[in-house]
Amino acid sequence: MAGPESHAAMLKAEFPSLVQIEGGGGGFSRFLVQKESLPAVAQYLHHHQKWQSRLALLWAVDDRPMREGASLHYLFALDNVRQWVVLSIELEGDDRLFPSITPHIHAAQWYEREIRDMFGLIPVGHPDLRRLVRHEHWPKGTHPLQKGFPWNEVLGRQQGNYRFLHIEGEGVFEVPVGPIHAGIIEPGHFRFSVAGEPIMQLELRHFWKHRGVEKLFEQRTLTDAVPLAERISGDTTVGHSLAYCQAVETLIGLEVPRRGRFLRSLFLELERLHNHVGDVGAICNDTAYSLPHAHCGRLKEQVMQLNDRLTGSRFLRGVNRVGGVTVDLTPNQLTEIPKELDRLEQDFSELESIIAANSSLIDRLETTGVLTTRTARDHAVVGVVGRASGLDYDLRRDRPFAAYGELAVKVAMYHYGDVRARMRVRMDEIHESIRLVKQLCATMPTGPIAAEPRLNSRLPKTPKAGEWALSAVEGWRGEILYMVMAGENETIHRCKVRDPSFVNWPAIQWAVVGNIIPDFPLINKSFNLSYAGNDL
């Protein structure tokens, strides 16, 4: 494996004008790039064979009042060498233009449109400049994340039309679905173009649930924003709050005690468990095989009741806080959990063999909704969906956080990229999660569960305004990223949240092509992405 110097050295040799910047929490190297040379540097970094790099995050910051102007930051994950590189460009004063990298790096497409909507900065050369987050009825010139924009003034309305992509031709129909769907699921709009049965094109229209979360973060202080992070996507309560807490801990220099880290991992695995079990059942249900759905519903309920008994919340709300966790487990509970999970695993294994023995079910899942490795990589897809399409990364192994540095995580991997592969990744991860929880219970260290000082007292180190940190957590859906930038007096200047759904949603548009509309719910369920986490 190459050392961290090597990619920095290579970059500097290739582009002598780069300026390496020290600092920035979260373990990455950072370069300041001239605006004009950004596309070249980004392409070099992204396309170089040696690194297998992907664009993991792209965010903008309105730097006022610290500096007149905005800045953009590109996080590349070099998966082969397990390094992160951040490229930053700074726009001066009223400059609102930045070069688009989308023509060469496809994964940037939604990020750049999002930045245009939220900051009013324009990605020059972007092939698709329609609105993304801002629906057509938002008034012109409203860019909520600009510093001057009042957070609490409800937007007005204007008339406007969204231009969907059309396929024209004889026998081509458009089928609009949503925003309100048939089941108990979240709102989103899907527009299919079909000729006969097969889908020719799917276009997503999301962001119905946009609640202005990133702006709400800016109204809070570093230590009291955890409840908000928990409510970004309710099913990923632990994942989001953990990612947020870690970023803040890096920023304020707080070391989480070992027991706290173990408990965090334990809760994260419990969350993975109940969601995956539910998903396996739901996938079966979408092929009209409701028996496993009933069993999985029961098993999921069992885990959620366990959560409730352990922490007082079925979703593990309020478990994480900056510095550690709020809930300790008694020795009794630590012996009870493995026993309960053993029974659950036995139960689930029996169910698995029932599922595997149903050939009509398996036939429906195989070759349905194939996301090829190539497409997955182009979209920088993460998590369960990525692992089912042959993208071998899992932060628990690659960038260990919480207690994962002391655990050997076996990563589930499949290559077919169809619904079945995604179901099998989940099944494997269920067994792995149970194993991890048991191991965590068995090796639980003694000691405090959270770092002092307690909340609301003085922090070990007050971050300077403009200091920021990154944090990454492998939630049950995949990689959750947080970038937290401090403002004056422990406030939050900017908090960028990236749920795995945001990168995986566009990929679904390609996975459905050639399938029939009745299979869409099944494919969608096998992705099971969050609307709330995507819309923010």
Binding site: H135, H137, W138, P144, F149, P150, W151, N152, E153, V154, L155, R157, P179, I180, A182, G183, I184, I185, E186, P187, F207, W208, K209, H210, R211, G212, V213, K215, L216, P227, L228, R231, I232, S233, G234, D235, T237, L291, A294, H295, G297, R298, K300, E301, M304, Q305, D308, R314, F315, R317, D347, E350, L351, S353, I354, A357, S530, Y531, A532
Partner: protein, 171 residues
């Protein structure tokens, strides 16, 4: 086949295996109870998400699993608002969903009930005041029943719904 039967026998009946609701008993507003009269023994619900964090939806979904099995009280979920007796609304109403909520309300045949589920739907919760949130559900459509909690447990939801159906969740 044998495997499936064996599994079912081994599992037995799981319905009712949940802790009783501990939420303080708030009696339902008499006007709402009056309105709910036609729906005794059969209440068909349409769930509308207007910007929730999806935990409230998950708990609604949990109502339909074998453990809570709301259908035993005659509570069912409809796929279309036109088939619904009651709307269950979750989440603060975002600007983008405001129209959709009003449309759904119009599409639902009278008489109808509106149930606001979760703190967000009742008072916008954490998202109060945001530029993208146009206020709690009752700013846009009249609300008959409120079920507080973040999220309320399925047992709490079931308690209120069964009461509306004129039954009691006893197991």
């Amino acid at each position: 086949m044998f495997r499936i039967i064996k599994k079912s026998l081994k599992t037995g009946v799981v319905t009712g295996r949940y802790p009783q609701s501990a939420a303080p008993h708030e009696s339902i507003d008499p006007a709402a109870a009056e309105k709910a009269k036609p729906f005794r023994r059969s209440l068909v619900i349409r769930e509308v998400d207007t910007g929730s964090c999806n935990a409230c939806e998950m708990e609604m979904n949990a109502l339909m699993n074998p453990v809570y099995d709301a259908e035993r009280f005659g509570i069912r979920i409809a796929a279309s608002p036109r088939h619904a007796d009651a709307l269950v609304v979750t989440g603060p109403v975002t600007i983008n969903m405001e129209r959709a909520l009003k449309d759904v309300y119009k599409q639902t045949p009278d008489p109808k009930l509106v149930i606001a589920l979760g703190d967000c739907a009742i008072n916008c919760g954490m998202f109060k005041g945001s530029y993208a949130v146009t206020g709690p559900v009752d700013r846009h459509v009249p609300v008959d029943v409120r079920i507080p909690g973040c999220p309320p447990r399925p047992a709490d939801i079931l308690k209120v719904l069964t009461e509306l159906c004129g039954k009691h969740d006893r197991h």
